[in-house]
């Protein structure tokens, strides 16, 4: 079995980090479908965006409008980050002490960049899942960075919508199956509105 352990170590050498997707709040909150690739305990989990892209990590920039400390023994922070299209729910717990301390330090309101993992959370079996982002890193940024993010995210969203129309990628087909009532045109509209909010 020692050979096995060594092989895993070797794979780590060519480890590929999951990219951080750019997605507006109005799209991320529509996610209802998540899945795991591989059967390993440490296999990455993804949420499937309605525009047909798997997403293990997100990069968001917006305004931190609110943060709250919660819990007695297991302290964690919740926050709301607002972009031109809606609200992201973020959280950082004691399992991410670094991220939690970064978040604790920031006074709302502030422009923040958040790198984190999106997940679906259900109050109980029957309720609609809520999408929340577990923070890996958070940092105060300037308005320029926020504007650049809106451009970047609009471009990525439009790219996904273009691919969605014609692609036969399994993720796109799956998205059409699990989100039958969502027309990606609404995300084009959202991208336009987000861009229009930036002063020329």
């Amino acid at each position: 079995m020692s050979t096995n352990a060594r092989e895993i170590g070797r794979k780590d050498g060519s480890f590929e980090r999951e990219p951080a997707r750019r997605v507006f709040a109005s799209e991320l909150r529509e996610c209802r479908y998540d899945f795991k690739e591989g059967t390993d305990e440490k296999s990455p989990t993804f949420v499937l965006l309605p525009t047909g892209e798997r997403c293990n990590r997100v990069f968001i920039v917006g305004t931190l409008t609110e943060k709250q400390r919660q819990g007695d023994q297991n302290i964690f922070y919740r926050g709301r980050v607002v972009d031109p299209t809606g609200t992201f729910f973020i959280m950082a717990g004691s399992y991410q002490p670094e991220a939690m301390q970064q978040l604790a330090k920031i006074e709302a309101p502030a422009f923040v960049a958040v790198i984190g993992k999106p997940g679906l959370y259900r109050k109980d079996e029957a309720s609609t899942p809520m999408v929340s982002v577990r923070v890996e890193s958070i940092n105060v940024v300037d308005k320029d960075t926020r504007d650049l993010w809106v451009l970047d995210t609009a471009a990525r969203t439009l790219d996904r919508i273009d691919i969605f129309k014609t692609s036969t990628e399994p993720d796109v087909i799956k998205a059409k199956e699990v989100y039958p009532s969502i027309d990606p045109a609404v995300f084009r509209r959202a991208a336009y509105d987000a861009l229009a909010q930036i002063k020329m």
Partner: protein, 415 residues
């Protein structure tokens, strides 16, 4: 563990000799050797092959049969067509000899014909005549085997070696760097970078590249070996291509090297990545380096160098290690001092000041730098080597109203 691939390979080998063997049967044999007896997989493959060859009376298959010269093994074979576990006869030119790694080996080196080159080992017990570089030999009944994915020709006591006269000049053909594979390879490439040597026996190491990619190279100290000149192009014939941790490198000690007047536009090198800095890794900020000449390693907090131990007279340096993410791919990046200074606005002197006067010390520099760059959009220009982008310049992205207008048009256009 899955043995079907190996079993298929063995089964195919026997199919060539007209024997059909159920892969399930082979798999069973392999499983028994590997799982019950802890035999190394490559050894198990060889032993099962031999075993079956004996069973079906196919002599050229195994390596223990000796003397078996039937089945076309006397026809000279091109080196490029050889595959492992084959008994072969060839005509080739010894293009390099290297120092044998063990007293059991009489000679080792590289032999080549017009199709390519292969490493060879002549066992001391083989009593083969000593071969000399640049001479041609007719070698009968040698065995090709494979170790760590590298094919090598074994000259043993059943092999006959005769010098022969061939007047055809041997002009090796070079391959693009990206097409190199473990074994022996010839390239035309430019020296892009020279590294500090990490071992006293090492003469030189660095990076070679051509239009298709880059590869690490090393030259070990040996009589007659000279350093390559950075920026020059060389024709390198019959270098040894080794693989370690899935990465290839060239050992030039066996190679014939000729300087070339031309120039090469090296690719795989210069890339520009635009994205967000999504992670600043530990070990970024201000660091201490080993002052021993040619070492320059990063020291631990206790000023310990893995080679030169405690170094109280360390040298301060700045660097940032992290991940640059464009939304599709994440690039491992490394910024050196001048790039860090211009990106963060914190100079080495300022960082020293912070490190020495702040209660958090070096951590404070890390935190201040992270605060300035994490989550920011930048464009990095640099060279991508071993999946890491070595950044030459890194600029903050600025808002382009033209881009904004174009996107508004695109989003507002007919859907």
């Amino acid at each position: 563990m899955d043995f079907s691939e190996t079993a298929d390979r063995i089964s195919r080998k026997f199919q060539k000799s007209g024997q059909t063997i159920d892969p399930k049967k082979i798999e069973g044999k392999l499983r028994r050797l590997i799982e019950e007896f802890g035999v190394q997989p490559s050894e198990a493959e060889r032993s099962v092959t031999n075993d079956l060859a004996k069973e079906f009376n196919i002599p050229q298959m195994g390596s223990g049969g000796g003397g078996g010269k039937s089945g076309g093994a006397t026809e000279p074979k091109k080196i490029a067509d050889m595959s492992p576990e084959e008994w072969v006869t060839l005509e080739g030119k010894v293009v390099a000899l290297s120092t044998p790694a063990s007293p059991a080996i009489a000679q080792s080196g590289i032999i080549a014909d017009d199709s390519g080159g292969i490493r060879f080992v002549a066992w001391a017990k083989s009593n083969a005549p000593a071969m000399t570089v640049d001479s041609w030999y007719h070698i009968e009944s040698a065995v090709v085997d494979e170790f760590k994915g590298v094919a090598s020709l074994k000259i043993h006591s059943g092999t006959t070696v005769k010098e022969c006269v061939t007047d055809g000049a041997l002009v090796p053909s070079t391959v693009p760097v990206v097409n190199l594979h473990p074994g022996v390879g010839s390239v035309r490439a430019k020296v892009i970078q020279e590294w500090d040597t990490t071992h006293e026996r090492m003469l030189q190491s660095g990076i070679l590249g051509d239009e298709t990619g880059t590869i690490k190279f090393v030259i070990w100290k040996e009589a007659g070996k000279e350093k390559l000149v950075v920026g020059s192009v060389y024709n390198i014939f019959y270098a040894m291509v080794d693989e370690y941790n899935g990465k290839l490198s060239l050992n030039l000690n066996t190679a014939t090297i000729m300087q070339d007047d031309g120039d090469i536009l090296v690719s795989g090198g210069n890339v520009a990545v635009r994205g967000a800095l999504v992670h600043i890794a530990p070990g970024s900020g201000i660091i201490k380096r080993c002052p021993v000449e040619g070492c320059n390693r990063a020291l631990s907090r206790q000023n310990y160098c893995p080679v030169h131990e405690i170094q109280p007279k360390f040298i301060y340096d700045l660097r940032i290690k992290g991940w640059l993410d464009d939304g599709e791919k994440t690039h491992n990046i490394l910024l050196q001092r001048d790039v860090v200074e211009s990106l963060t606005g914190i100079t080495l002197d300022a960082a020293k000041e912070i490190a020495e006067n702040n209660p958090l010390g070096m951590d404070e520099v890390f935190l201040q730098m992270r605060e300035k760059v994490l989550g920011r959009y930048v464009t990095c220009h640099g060279r991508e080597i071993d999946n890491r982008l070595l950044v030459n310049t890194c600029e903050r992205l600025t808002f382009e109203s033209g881009e904004h207008a174009a996107l508004l048009n695109r989003a507002g256009g007919a859907s």
